[in-house]
Structures are given as C-alpha cells and as structure tokens.
C-alpha cells in the first residue's frame, strides 16, 4: 500500500464506531484467511514428525507400548482438550472462509449485490450451525468421558 493519510492533531476524530455488515465480512475474511495460512504451516510442522516414522523409528508411549513417532505425536495431541477445542475453532474458521468466499464470488459476478448484508448474516448463521453440530464429533471421548 502506498502512503496513507494522516491529518495529525485531528486524526483521532471522526472514526467509524459502528461497522457495517460489509466491513465486518471483510475483516472476518482477512482474519480467517490468515488463521488458515497459520494452520497450514503448523499442520506441515506436525506432519513432518512422520519423517522419522518412515524409517521405522519407534518410541515408547505413556502406556509402555512401542509405537511409531507419528502415532505417538498424534494420539498425544488428540487426547488434549485444547487441541480438540482448536479443531472446532479451525472448522469454524474454515467454514466461514468458504461460505464468505462463495459470497464474494457472487459479488464479483455481480449477483445479489443488494442482499450482500443478508448473505453475510446467512454465512455467519450457517457457520454457527455447522460448528455446533460438529461439537459432539470433535469432542468425542474427551471432556465428559
């Protein structure tokens, strides 16, 4: 971006306080996009633990069994509450990014521009519904049990 505008002493006056639907959609889309990029690299980092497993390297897990490095790492991650919670978060982020992406695609094609705020709310509601429906699956075997 090129130089932005700064009006010095009065810069802090007349700022947006209430964001409109379109602005929220933009901010959420950027945010979820960066989260997904961040997840991609974490994902690669975790998967790379499979590299020594390829050579048949084994470790002893907490139960005293001989398992591959990869299986050990993953079962360790899957058994922690915070990781399960992050998985739900990841789903939420991905679903919103997909739905809003479709919305933006329609906007780019010039379809339904008058109802752009409604489609944003719809994608939010749909994201919420899908995430809530997924909680039993993601949280299975943890928390209560």
């Amino acid at each position: 971006m090129s130089q932005s505008y700064n009006r010095g002493l009065v810069e802090d006056f007349s700022r947006w306080k209430e964001f409109s639907a379109g602005m929220w959609a933009w901010i959420f889309h950027k945010f979820t996009g960066w989260v997904l990029v961040g997840y991609l690299f974490t994902h690669i980092a975790v998967l790379s633990t499979a590299i020594p497993a390829q050579q048949g390297e084994m470790v002893t897990n907490s139960a005293g069994e001989q398992v591959s490095v990869y299986t050990n790492t993953l079962s360790l991650l899957e058994s922690t509450f915070i990781v399960r919670l992050l998985e739900v978060g990841l789903l939420a982020v991905a679903v919103f990014h997909i739905l809003n992406g479709i919305r933006l695609l329609l906007v780019d094609l010039g379809i339904g521009l008058e109802s752009q705020d409604k489609t944003f709310y719809a994608s939010l509601v749909l994201t919420g519904a899908i995430v809530i429906a997924s909680v039993p699956t993601f949280m299975a075997g943890i928390g209560g049990a």
Partner: protein
C-alpha cells in the same frame, strides 16, 4: 432573516452622513453589530424556552490558524426543534444565533450541490438530507474522516477532486457529430444511477481502502469513469481501451475490496460497488481473450 432590518438602517445612515465622521460611523456600526449579536442570542434563548422540544448538538471545533483553537474540542449547542428540521438547519441556527465563527459548507440545502457531507453520529451523511428526528441525541457532528480539516467542519476536498479528474470525466470523441447524438433508452437506464453523483465525497471518506491508500481512485471517481465507459455515444474502441487502462492500474478498480461502505453512505443511492465490480469484469474480459 431578523438581521435584515438594522442592516438597511445603517446603510441609509452612511449614505447621508459626510465622509469626515468615519470614526464615529465605525463605532456606531460596531455597536450595532454587538447589539445585533446580543439580540440574536437573546432571541435564541427565548425561542429555546418557547419551543416544545430542543435538540442537543455536539459540534467538532478546530481552527489551526487561531492559537487558542488549535486543540480540537466539541461545542454544545441547544437548538429549538421545529418539525422537518434537518441537521443542516440546526447547524445554521447554531451559527446564526450562538457562534458566527462556526464554519461549514452548504449551498443549495436540497441534496443537489453536495457541499455538506459530514460525519454525523458515526456515519457519513449529507446534512441537508438528514432529518434531526432520526438522529439519536446528542447529535455528534464531525468533519468527514480521512481528509484534512481546514476549519471546524470544513475539509480539504482537493485530493478528492484530483481523483475525480484523473478518470477524464468528459467525452473525448475526436470527430464532431453532424447531428444530435441520441442515446438509447436502455443505455440511459444503464448509466442513470451513475450520473446522479453530486461530488459530496461521502463515499471516498467512508472507504477503508481509500483511507489506507491515498492513490486509490476511490468509489466516486470509478463511478464517474463507469458513466463514461458505459455510455454508447462514445463508441470508439481506442477510447474504451484508454478508459480501461486508467481504471485497471494498481490503484484503480482492483483496490476495491467490496466492503460496500460507499454504497451504504451514498446520499444519492448510487450502487457504487456494483459499478466497480462491473468495471472489474470489463477489465478482465478485455485482457483475457481466448478466441
């Protein structure tokens, strides 16, 4: 309106009196002005008491040229409410009755000239088109964001005008037509909304992208370009190419991130985002040719 009577009186005096008594004249005029000011203030007080409702305005004040006014502040004005009063009416009342140094732009007062776009209650609005009854109190009036403040509510529009001119908003056809150029009804309908722009600058000021990128053409300028690009009366292929070349640069249509802020604040209800998106598609169609 009330100031007109004493004005004509002093004028009549100066005509009859000889030139030698200029000091006396000046003193008298000074006194008259002061009396007038006191009277208008008292009149406002009376009107305020008589009015059933009054409206509380919080107005941004700032004057970089006067040392004591360099610190931005908010002034409170209580204005007697009359039915149908707009934000601009209230501002004018405040200026005429309380503080004549209150500065803001206005001209036609009917949403045609586009001089009085301001930031009212957290949103860009055209003051003459905004009913006071629809505003929550206190009505907070600030200058447009992202533009230099010249004084009080007046912002520097130079940059906005530069961007408007950058898209060459005029017909450039070289050959002079021999007869009247008719526009088809369909084409008129297509560009109808885009011709309604009044250059108020509300869209540019509301645009998040324009705020961060000062070179971005902005919604108003792109809408202006749309108006000429889509007009069939200028049908030379080279001219269309030329217009697209201006629009598809780095700081042209592709800077738009479809936040719809401009479309939402536009006092003339121009579908700005729609027009920008259409020009984006035109640019792609022009550059991607598989046949």
């Amino acid at each position: 309106m009330s100031t007109q009577v004493p004005e004509t009186e002093t004028e009549a005096e100066t005509e009859t009196e000889p030139a030698g008594e200029s000091h006396q004249e000046r003193r008298m005029a000074d006194k008259a002005a002061k009396r007038e000011y006191r009277e208008s203030e008292k009149k406002a007080e009376d009107e305020l008491r008589a009015a059933e409702e009054s409206v509380h305005l919080k107005v941004f004040r700032y004057d970089p040229e006067v040392e004591d006014k360099q610190e931005p502040r908010f002034d409170d004005f209580y204005v007697p409410y009359t039915k149908g009063m707009t934000v601009l009416d209230a501002l004018m009342y405040a200026r005429d009755h309380y503080d004549s140094s209150l500065t803001f732009r206005h001209s036609c007062r009917q949403a045609v000239c586009g001089s009085d776009a301001m930031f009212v209650n957290g949103r860009q609005r055209l003051c003459c088109k905004t009913q006071l009854s629809e505003m929550a109190e206190p009505v907070r009036i600030e200058p447009l964001p992202h533009q230099d403040v010249v004084k009080d509510l007046v912002v520097d529009m130079e940059h906005f005008y530069d961007q408007m001119h950058a898209v060459e908003p005029y017909f450039q056809s070289e050959d002079v037509p021999s007869e009247e150029q008719r526009q088809s009804r369909e084409n008129r309908e297509k560009i109808k909304m885009s011709t309604r722009c009044i250059w108020c600058g509300a869209c540019m000021s509301s645009c998040n992208v324009a705020a961060g990128d000062n070179e971005y053409l902005g919604p108003a300028a792109i809408n202006k370009a749309y108006r000429f690009y889509m007009d069939e009366r200028e049908d030379e292929e080279e001219l269309k190419e030329h217009r697209l070349r201006i629009l598809e640069q780095e700081h042209g249509v592709w800077r738009c991130q479809t936040q719809f802020s401009c479309t939402e604040v536009c006092p003339k209800d121009i579908p700005l985002t729609e027009h920008i998106q259409e020009l984006k598609r035109e640019a792609v169609k022009n550059n991607l040719k598989f046949w």
